[in-house]
């Protein structure tokens, strides 16, 4: 279960993946962050950056309304 939540659906580049990175850095080991995002740019960049930084992308769910819900764990 995700302990933390971040909605970046109203943000635009670069703040989408900037906010995601800054929130991920606050995670303690074992915690996860649920991110609600919109559009292809954060869908591509958020998980890519997270994996490069050693986080675990646990799930990406298409909400069928233009948004995706992503869960990333540390």
């Amino acid at each position: 279960m995700s302990e933390k939540y971040l909605d970046i659906t109203t943000d635009s580049c670069p703040m989408t993946f900037v906010k995601a990175k800054l929130e991920l850095e606050k995670l303690n080991i074992g915690e996860s962050l649920e991110i609600l995002l919109k559009g292809s740019e954060p869908l591509e960049n958020v998980p890519r950056s997270a994996v490069e930084s050693g986080y675990d992308v646990k799930s990406i769910v298409d909400n069928n309304n233009g948004t995706h819900t992503m869960v990333i764990g540390r």
Partner: protein, 159 residues
């Protein structure tokens, strides 16, 4: 193109819109795990000043005059259509309305992401500025050789 994930920016301009461009590049790159360095030189030093608006800074009357007239982060002019200084405020309102980050938000994110901020020694001497005139996040006062060392192997942009 280098394989090293490093972006170095030379922030020469103290213009509002160019500062937005610089910090957009810096935050975007840092957020996807690039090492990011910004070398602030000449008018770009205005962005780093502790005093956000016009104030007396610098050694000597002429330096004080230049620093007073150019001000700080909240006085940066637009490169075009400055509208006697009204345009940056209008543009900030527009960016907020469109859910785009403002200059202040981008600068805060730049610092939060650990982007390396460097001040140019030569420009500081010309403008009579000292390290103490700048925000504490400025990592170091450096010259051209040190910047070349720092930026070596990555991409460098002049803004």
């Amino acid at each position: 193109m280098s394989d090293v994930k490093k972006l170095s920016l030379i922030a020469f301009s103290g213009d509002f819109d160019k500062a937005i461009a610089a910090f957009t590049m810096a935050t975007g790159a840092a957020a996807v795990n690039y090492e990011v360095n910004i070398f602030f030189t000449f008018w770009g030093l205005n962005i780093l000043k502790k005093k956000l608006r016009r104030g007396t800074q610098g050694k000597g009357a002429l330096s004080k005059a230049f620093n007073y007239l150019s001000g700080g982060l909240e006085n940066l002019p637009m490169t075009r259509l400055n509208l006697l200084g009204a345009a940056p405020g209008l543009m900030t309102g527009l960016t907020r309305k469109r859910n785009v980050a403002t200059l202040k938000e981008l600068f805060e994110a730049t610092k939060a992401l650990g982007v390396n901020l460097y001040a140019c020694e030569m420009s500081m001497n010309i403008l009579g500025l000292e390290l103490n005139d700048f925000i504490p996040e400025v990592k170091e006062v450096i010259g051209v050789p040190k910047f070349l060392d720092i930026s070596s192997g990555g991409e460098t942009l002049f803004i």
